[in-house]
Amino acid sequence: MGLLSKKDAALIKDPLADNNPITIQVLGICSALAITAELEASIVMSISVLFVLGVGNVVISLMRNIIPSKIRIIVQLIVVATLVIIVDLVLKAFAYELSKTLSVFVGLIITNCIIMGRFEAFALGNGPWKSFLDGIGNSLGYAVILIIVGFFRELLGSGTLLGIPVLGDPIEKTGLYALGYENNGFMLLSPMALIVVGIIIWIQRTRNKDLVED
């Protein structure tokens, strides 16, 4: 036996692949399209969601028996909003440039469907430990896709990774650029993020036919 029981481990593992929040449940697409032009923004966004969802799930789970079901959405919103404001202020204080890149999308974590979805579907009916694992699992699933998309978009779109040039210098024409290679400007536009997510979905469903819906 490891640290987690089999059931608990599944809470972390499933959202990473066969029950991925983005590619299978198709939640949280908006932010996946909007902020993945740079890998750094994708990573920070993933960490923010990890924090909000992990803590939020625990808080909601602890309060699940005292929240009147009629006003549960409002309560959930308040919890998310509080956590998001914390994230937003921390980013503004310690990573101002990045916070400008992410702009409204940090605030929009509040409306990220993954978070409300996990509160509704899981935290309201399970204990804090399980809810915590579920939150971590789902945000890791979200993070995996964001980082894959961000990786390809930044690499092919700007020729950099985390801001470091990896394919040579486009102005000095070194590295790949000496051969006539050019950055693909389409990669920096949101439609391409949609197409990259689509390709991930395509590959995933080709490998696992059970995921194909009719």
């Binding site: 006539g180 290679y181 050019e182 693909n184 400007g185 389409f186 990669m187 536009l189 197409i195 689509g198 395509w202």
Partner: protein, 415 residues
């Protein structure tokens, strides 16, 4: 033993294996299939998909040949080595020099377009285990005609892979695509590599290279003699900057001896090709006619706005808005897009009434984008792609309208 029997033997040898579609495709491309149907009644017609596509390709060949000569002609004209051709049969146009430069630039585009596109088709046919589809035959010919002559070949290859896979194969292959694959390829190039697809340096072969040579010479401090910058601006680009028609006459625009994408400049040849397609009943005259009407209506509206004095010369839209409305049919890729791309039977509306609406909106929106969005000087590509998306919706409402009208008639009769 001829080629035919060799191909037939290969086909028999690989029957039932994974590679069968590839050999079948080569065989049926060159020869009529020798399978016959045995039972039931069948409609017999000679024009299967391959023959239909071949007719479109035949219509495109004059544009391609003209485009090859034009590429060479524009190159030498910009270098100042030849006189401007006078008229369609101008003596400095149909020369051997022009042909050689044109072939050298255009032929690789054709080869890459067909090579990469057909390779993708073959791979998908083998994976999916169906026959190779003919859909790429026309697309492969259209693509080299709608890109600037200096497009780097690797960019074209990347765009073709993207266009065929994302534009067509993911939807289920030929006949299932929502967007015109050739235009998807061009749109990809346009958004991915804008510096190679717009501006005043890409439409004439050598302009970009000359710019680089000047930069190098300047850096080295050597003399710039004989290194005049080449400007190969298209008429649309010039109009968008309020610079007028440059030195081009209306007849130049009609004949097509102007800078532009490889095969779309000659309105005359496109018109002839359009008539040929209408005559052979391959292209829809409804779409072609209604697009022209749509463009003219939009052009007239803009001319009206100008003459009413709402827009003054200081406006950045003045140049294109004040263009005489019928000039819009001659400049840019409008004629080419309307005749060869808006009429694509897969992505256009299917119903006759729908074709009128679809065509009209293609023309109308093309000119609107052209005027209001100077960042995208060619509106016809975006207009057709947009209307491709709406074509099924138009058809739906046309069919529903028909159903309702007939139901009403039925009720009146029975009442």
């Amino acid at each position: 033993m001829g080629l035919k029997s060799n191909l037939h033997n290969l086909k028999e040898k690989y029957k039932g294996t994974k590679m069968a579609p590839a050999f079948n495709a080569i065989h049926t491309f060159l020869y009529l299939p020798n399978e016959t149907t045995h039972n039931g009644t069948h409609i017999k017609a000679a024009d299967d998909l391959k023959r239909t596509m071949n007719i479109v390709i035949m219509a495109l060949v004059p544009c391609l040949i003209f485009g090859i000569f034009n590429a060479g002609y524009q190159h030498y004209l910009a270098l100042g080595e030849i006189e401007a051709a006078n008229g369609f049969l101008g003596s400095s146009f149909w020369t051997m020099d022009n042909l050689i430069v044109g072939l050298w630039q255009v032929l690789p585009l054709v080869v890459v377009s067909y090579g990469v596109g057909l390779a993708v088709e073959f791979v998908f046919a083998v994976i999916k285990g169906h026959e190779v589809e003919e859909g790429y035959l026309v697309t492969g010919m259209l693509v080299p005609l709608i890109v600037p002559v200096d497009t780097p070949l690797w960019m074209l290859a990347v765009a073709v892979v993207f266009g065929v896979v994302i534009g067509k194969e993911v939807f289920g292959g030929t006949g299932m695509n929502i967007l015109n694959p050739a235009l998807t390829i061009r749109a990809f190039l346009f958004f991915a590599y804008p510096t190679w697809m717009s501006g005043d340096k890409v439409w004439v072969h050598g302009a970009k290279a000359r710019d680089e040579a000047i930069a190098v010479a300047k850096e080295a401090g050597s003399s710039l003699e004989g290194l005049d910058a080449i400007s190969g601006e298209t008429i649309l680009g010039s109009l968008a900057q309020n610079k007028g028609l440059l030195d081009h006459s209306v007849m130049d625009m009609f004949y097509g001896i102007i800078p532009g994408s490889v095969g779309e400049t000659s309105t005359l040849l496109i018109l002839l090709a359009g008539l040929f397609l209408i005559f052979t009943k391959i292209g829809s005259w409804r779409i072609m006619l209604s697009s022209a009407i749509g463009a003219l209506v939009m052009g007239l509206i803009f001319n009206g706005v100008i003459s009413s004095g709402l827009i003054t010369e200081s406006s950045k839209f003045y140049g294109l808005m004040s263009t005489e409305f019928w000039h819009h049919l001659l400049i840019g890729g409008f004629a080419f897009g309307t005749v060869f791309m808006a009429t694509d039977p897969v992505t256009a509306s299917q119903t006759n009434k729908g074709k009128w609406i679809y065509g009209f909106l293609v023309g109308f929106i093309s000119i609107m984008i052209r005027v209001f969005n100077p960042a995208y000087p060619e509106g016809v590509m975006l207009a057709i792609l947009l209307m491709n998306v709406f074509a099924p919706t138009i058809d739906h409402y046309v069919v529903q309208g028909n159903v309702k009208r007939r139901l009403k008639r039925l009720k009146v009769k029975t009442a």
